[in-house]
Structures are given as structure tokens and as C-alpha cells.
């Protein structure tokens, strides 16, 4: 609380200073204050989030500092950098401390976003009627909240054990066969999507109940036509921040092909590092940077890649491996399994039902790293993944649902949500809380 309160007060003071200087036409001192403010925010984030990572990289073997990451710092730091930049660019008016503090600390988005622009939200806090119950907004907001909660508790937490078994095995140096590795990665891709988009829907719903509208954060990203389209659908508010407050200030695509390539890669590497202090996150960002560079090069050359949707999905799924794996070694172990280098094993019951499979697969009573390794784990995991991918690939997102479709979805999911909320053996925390 003191950190958050202090950060809000200092940033507001700097923002006001920048605004006054910019309004008076004193661009150079305004810019100096902007640089100082952004540096202070990044310094604070860097200390809490990256000090141990840097220490471990520069001085391997040194005792870690054991710094505890304050909840939501990655998100409220970006919010405040936006405020400072918008102040320097004259894209906001003086709103007073209270609306600004509300903008940063508004509870639905404080911990894990969406990352919203000051000009999108502060005017809403200053408008009449904010927080006063409105039946329509209450109803729509509560519906979105419940649908988001269902995504998290019923779907994301349902896929978590499948993903955890495979990735934990890889982290412990176990050998995963083709099906075990792919099932774990496919489950994680669904877990993180339903977890984070569920959280975003809950945040949007909560804000709506208080008559505040947040921008959309996920728009069926696994239905993307290409990797650029994916980033316009996945964590949209972060993509927007990285584009407007990093990529474009770095020069964007205005300074030639080489510079554009470098800017793109730098943006994605930093985007990866923002998610966590570790080389696996850097690798994830680097892979997406590479995908985007290849995509832009292909587009400029007029090359049309057949099966772009499937290729994009495959690329995104492969990139989730380092994002989830505990180490680079575990990443390689998982990729080896996915490439089939550890062979293909299938449950005896499947090979027995389809004897032709015996030619390519080793029959085993159970697959050790598939779900809870029971006789029926394979059909159970297969059905669960089929359902999850069916939802992710075939249905529109809940914001595009008609009112009737939302009601029907609630009829199907509300009881399962209550079941998971009160009777599930364990509830996993939101994945993005760790970032």
C-alpha cells in the first residue's frame, strides 16, 4: 500500500509538472521530467522484478536478494508511464488527484489489467453516475463477471492439471512421449487463454457494474489469421501499450526495414521480459518477434502462406513451451517430446481397439505423464481438449455473444462454476497474478 500510494502521488506530481511545462511550450524541461519519471517507474519495477534475475545472470552463485514482487506492479507501472507520456503529448487534461488515483488503483484492473489509457478511464470517473447502481449495467456486468469466472474455474482450472503433469515431468528430467508432450502443451495453451481472458472478462464485468467501461482485452486470439492478427486479439491492451509507448517511440516502421526489424524484435523481447524475469520469457518474446518479422517480410514480398490460420496457431502453441517451462532444459525436453524424438506411446485400450496403431506406437497400460495416469485418462484428456479447442476455435468471444447466447452459456456453466468455487479440491490462482 505505501509503495502504491507513494507511486501514485509522485507520478501525479510529475505528471502535473509535465502538463504545465508542455502547456507553456517548454518542451525540453517537460521532456526531462518525462524521462526522469519513466526512468523512476522502470527503476522501481526493475528493482522489484529483475534485481534477482540480473544478480543471478551477472554473478551466478550469489545469494538471491529475496525481493518480494508487489502485487500488480507490472500493471500499475505501465498505467503510470502512460499517464506521464500522455501528459507530455498533451493528450490529457488536468483532472485532479482523486480521479487519477482512482484510475491507477481501480480494483477491477489493479492486479492484472486490462492496461487502460488515462483518457479512456479518467473522464468516466469524472462523469455523473459512476458507481450509482444502474440495472442494465449491473445485469450486463454481472453476466460478464460470471462468464469470466466460469472460464477461469471451469475451463482454465480444468486444463491446469493436464498441463502441470507434463511440464512438471519435463522439469524433473523425465522423458515425455509424443502424446504426453502435445497434450500438456495443448492444455496449457487453453489454460492460459481461459485463465487470462476469464480474468479480463471479470474485470470488465466488475467495472461495468460500477458504470465504467473497459476496452476489450481478448478477441478469440486462437482464431487469428496470422501472427500480426494474433497480437491484435491477444492481451489487446498490452499490445496497444507496447505499440504506442515502445515500438513507435523507438521509430516503429518509419526508419527503414533494418531498423523496423530491430524495433520489432526489441519490443517483443521486452514484452517477454515484462512477463517475468527469466530467459524462458525472453525466448518466448524472441520467438514472437521472429514470427512477426517473418510475417512482415512475407507480406512485403507478396507471399501468401497457405493454411495461415493453422500455421499461426501452431507457432503460438510452440511458443507457449518456453513461457510455461520451468527452465530452458525443460523447454528442450518438452520440444523433444513434441517432435516425437522420444517415440509414440499409446494406451493399450486404444491400440487394442485399433491394432494398426501397433506399427507406430508402443502400447502401455497407462501413460505416466498424461493427466492422473489412469486407464481412462487418455479418453478423458482427449475429450476435454476437444471441448476446449472447440470453444476457442469455433465460438465467438463472450462480448460478441447475443444476450440469449450469454444466458444459454450461463445455463450450461453456472452450476459448474459454483461446483468449482466451493467444492473443487483446489483453486489455482490467476496465472497473470505472477506477472
Amino acid at each position: 500500500m505505501p509503495l502504491l500510494g507513494g507511486s501514485v502521488a509522485v507520478n501525479y506530481a510529475i505528471g502535473q509538472r509535465i502538463l504545465r511545462l508542455a502547456a507553456a511550450g517548454r518542451q525540453r524541461p517537460a521532456r526531462r521530467w518525462l524521462v526522469a519519471g519513466v526512468a523512476a517507474n522502470l527503476g522501481l519495477l526493475g528493482w522489484f522484478k529483475y534485481a534477482d534475475f540480473l544478480l543471478g545472470t551477472l554473478a551466478p552463485g550469489a545469494a538471491p536478494l529475496g525481493i518480494v514482487l508487489p502485487l500488480g506492479i507490472s500493471f500499475f507501472t505501465f498505467q503510470q508511464i502512460m499517464f506521464l507520456v500522455d501528459s507530455a503529448q498533451g493528450e490529457r487534461t488536468d483532472s485532479g488527484l482523486l480521479p487519477y488515483a482512482c484510475f491507477v488503483t481501480f480494483f477491477p484492473h489493479l492486479i492484472a489489467g486490462p492496461i487502460v489509457r488515462p483518457r479512456e478511464i479518467i473522464p468516466q470517473f469524472m462523469a455523473r453516475g459512476v458507481g450509482i447502481p444502474c440495472a442494465d449495467n449491473l445485469s450486463v456486468g454481472l453476466t460478464l463477471f460470471l462468464l469470466g469466472l466460469a472460464k477461469k474455474l471451469v475451463l482454465a482450472d480444468g486444463f491446469a492439471p493436464l498441463a502441470d503433469v507434463g511440464f512438471n515431468a519435463a522439469a524433473h528430467g523425465e522423458t515425455l512421449t509424443l502424446v504426453e508432450a502435445w497434450y500438456a502443451v495443448l492444455a496449457y495453451a487453453l489454460q492460459i487463454y481461459f485463465d487470462f481472458s476469464g480474468y479480463s472478462d471479470m474485470a470488465i464485468g466488475l467495472a461495468r457494474m460500477l458504470n465504467v467501461r473497459f476496452p476489450l482485452n481478448f478477441n478469440s486470439p486462437y482464431q487469428a489469421r496470422n501472427i500480426s492478427d494474433f497480437w491484435q486479439r491477444w492481451h489487446i491492451t498490452l499490445s496497444r501499450f507496447l505499440r504506442d509507448y515502445l515500438y513507435i517511440p523507438l521509430g516503429g516502421s518509419r526508419c527503414g526495414a533494418m531498423r523496423r526489424t530491430g524495433n520489432l524484435m526489441a519490443t517483443m523481447l521486452l514484452g517477454g521480459l515484462w512477463h517475468g524475469a527469466g530467459w524462458c520469457f525472453v525466448l518466448w518474446g524472441g520467438l514472437h518477434g521472429l514470427y512477426l518479422i517473418i510475417h512482415h517480410a512475407a507480406r512485403r514480398a507478396g507471399v501468401r502462406v497457405p493454411g495461415g490460420r493453422a500455421l499461426t496457431l501452431l507457432a503460438v502453441i510452440v511458443a507457449w513451451v518456453p513461457f510455461r517451462a520451468a527452465t530452458l532444459e525443460a523447454t528442450l525436453a518438452m520440444l523433444r517430446g513434441m517432435a516425437g524424438l522420444n517415440g509414440l506411446a499409446l494406451p493399450q485400450m486404444i491400440v487394442g481397439a485399433m491394432p494398426a496403431l501397433a506399427a507406430i506406437a508402443t502400447p502401455l497400460p497407462v501413460l505416466r505423464f498424461l493427466g492422473d495416469a489412469r486407464t481412462l485418462s487418455f479418453p478423458e484428456a482427449s475429450a476435454l481438449l476437444a471441448l476446449g479447442w472447440g470453444i476457442a476455435l469455433l465460438l465467438p468471444n463472450v462480448h460478441a455473444f447475443s444476450e440469449r447466447a450469454r444466458s444459454l452459456t450461463l445455463v450450461g456453466g453456472f452450476a459448474f462454476t459454483l461446483q468449482a468455487l466451493f467444492f473443487a479440491p483446489k483453486v489455482a490462482p490467476f496465472l497473470y497474478f505472477q506477472f
Binding site: A135, L138, L146, L376, P379, A383, L410, L418
Partner: protein
């Protein structure tokens, strides 16, 4: 708001109707239910005084009534099914078939003492009760909510899959992989050959022991103590015992004392073999709770001799009283 409330209510009604009356899991839960009913049927059919072994799967895999029965000279029923079966459900079912003079041997797994209330409420018996055994459910009001909400998305999918498998003539491979049950309720056929694949895992496994405080405060401990009081009040002889486990991973002494105290507090006996039911890792089938068949028989022979003495003592005490 009214349509929102209506949708939520409709969801609960649909969920209750589906899982209460339509969907079922004939392979997973049907198998467990059939095992429970077969053992209870035998217990109801044999004459008293009888000996009943109650535990989790340790009861079935590591103890053999077929071996114990001729040594102790009374009918024996192995009521051990699975560690996940709620103890309140287990005891409620067995109380109905226990008569004065019967004896119950309880080599409960450590996990059964410390199993939480929430885990107990949503164990497989919750689904079995809601779908097939509402009489027992009616007698356990604490379990009503848990039984209603015992079904997650996986349960929905697996109900459909298991129904399809059964309809399609699915051959259940479990017997070929782990063995099967005999008429006494013992697990049989879990030979060292079948268990060979698990030996590398057993060799490196590190068993976790609960603390003495966890045992003392455990929800399972409270349920066991309640059953022991019931047994005493109804003339049923209850005798505690150790579950099987690795010889190189003995129970900590404070945990040993905590478990003994559960039985001592209600005046129940506690039977200890010289080895405290600990065996080398190579003696186990697939977990530290499951001896392989030859060791199951050897353990049962040693146990039967000790049980015979303990039962004779308790009978003499009862006559004196």
C-alpha cells in the same frame, strides 16, 4: 437481472437433473460401487462373529481374508476399497452389517487420518450416493451439498465416454494390469511380474508422513474416533493397526504416538507386528500401500496369528465384564 437469475436457477436445475437421474459413470464409479456392494453382501451373508478389515486400498491389496479366516477361525470380509472413499460413508455402510461380537481391524492409511472435510465431501462416494445410494445420503446431512456438487466438467464428459465405452463392448483392462478381487474382497493376482513396471518408481519414491498435529486435528481422525465410540457402544471389537509401508521410511515416533492415542482414547485395541507392517521396497506392487501378492499373504499370516490372540483376549475381557 430477472433473466440472469432465471439462467442461474435453470443451470442448477439442469445440473441436478442430469447428474441425479441421467448421467452415470459405469466404469469408474460403477466399479467402486460394485466392489463396495459385493463386500457388504458377503458381510451380510456370513455368520457372526465375523472379522471385517476396514481401510483404503491398503486393506485390499496388503491384507488377505482368504488367508486370515482359517487362522482366526471366524468369517473374514475385506472391506478395503480405496483411500478416497469417505470414512463417514464407509462407516455408515458397515455399521449396518456389524453385529455385537464382530471384530473390525482398521489398518488405516496415514492419509485417511488427515483427509480434510472438503476432500471427504467430494470424494467418489459423494457421486455414488447421489446417483445410487440416496438412503445412505439421507442419513448423512453433512454430505448433501457436497454430493449435489460432486460433478465437474470432467464428470460430464466421462459420463458420456464411459457410457459409450460400455455400449461399445469395452474390455476393461484393469484386471489384466493390476489383478482382481476374490470372494472375500481381497485384491488378488497383483503378482511381482505385473508390478515389475512400477519398481523403478517405487525405488525412488519418497513417502510423505503427516505430522502428529495433523493426525490429532485431522477430520479423518474425528470420524475414526466417532466410529470407535460407536463400536464400543454396540459390542463390536475395534482394533487399530498400521498400514503397510516402506521399511526404510518408518513413521515418525510422534505420529506413531498420535495414531495410537486415537484408539487408546476410546479403549480400542491396537495391534502391532514386530515390524510395524514395514517391508522392503521390493515387496510392494505399485505404491507403499500395496504389497504384492506373495507379501500380502505373508503379512496376512503374521497378522492372523496376532489377531487370533487379540480377539481371544477381547472375548475373555468381554466375558469378565
Amino acid at each position: 437481472m430477472r433473466s440472469l437469475a432465471g439462467a442461474c436457477l435453470a443451470s442448477l436445475v439442469l445440473y441436478g437433473a442430469l447428474f441425479g437421474a441421467v448421467l452415470d459413470r459405469p466404469l469408474a464409479l460403477g466399479f467402486l460401487a460394485q466392489q463396495i456392494e459385493a463386500r457388504l453382501a458377503r458381510a451380510g451373508a456370513v455368520e457372526s462373529p465375523k472379522l471385517v478389515i476396514l481401510a483404503g486400498s491398503n486393506g485390499a491389496y496388503s491384507h488377505r481374508c482368504e488367508t486370515i479366516e482359517p487362522i482366526v477361525g471366524r468369517p473374514c470380509v475385506n472391506g478395503g476399497i480405496a483411500v478416497g472413499i469417505g470414512l463417514d460413508y464407509l462407516f455408515a455402510r458397515w455399521q449396518a452389517v456389524l453385529r455385537p461380537g464382530d471384530a473390525v481391524y482398521l489398518p488405516m492409511e496415514e492419509a485417511q487420518y488427515v483427509r480434510s472435510r472438503s476432500a471427504t465431501e467430494t470424494g467418489p462416494d459423494a457421486a455414488i450416493m447421489l446417483r445410487h445410494d440416496r438412503a445412505t445420503l439421507a442419513s448423512l446431512p453433512d454430505r448433501w451439498a457436497g454430493a449435489f456438487f460432486a460433478f465437474d466438467l470432467r464428470a460430464l464428459l466421462m459420463s458420456l465416454i464411459e457410457r459409450a465405452l460400455v455400449t461399445g463392448g469395452f474390455h476393461d483392462p484393469r484386471a489384466a494390469v493390476t489383478g482382481t478381487s476374490n470372494a472375500w474382497g481381497d485384491h488378488v493376482g497383483h503378482t511381482p511380474t505385473l508390478g515389475a513396471a512400477s519398481q523403478p518408481v517405487l525405488a525412488t519414491m519418497t513417502p510423505q508422513h503427516p505430522s502428529a498435529a495433523q493426525v490429532r486435528d485431522g477430520y479423518g481422525t474425528a470420524l475414526i474416533a466417532r466410529f470407535l465410540r460407536w463400536a464400543r457402544a454396540h459390542g463390536v471389537v475395534a482394533i487399530g493397526g498400521w498400514p503397510t509401508g516402506f521399511a526404510d521410511a518408518p513413521l515418525p515416533e510422534d505420529e506413531v504416538a498420535a495414531i495410537r492415542a486415537v484408539y487408546a482414547a476410546t479403549g480400542a485395541g491396537f495391534l502391532e507386528l514386530p515390524n510395524r507392517s514395514r517391508y522392503p521396497r521390493a515387496a510392494f506392487f505399485d505404491t507403499p500401500d500395496h504389497l504384492s501378492e506373495p507379501w500380502q499373504i505373508a503379512h496376512s499370516v503374521a497378522l492372523a496369528a496376532a489377531l487370533e490372540l487379540a480377539l481371544a483376549r477381547s472375548t475373555a475381557t468381554a466375558r469378565t465384564d
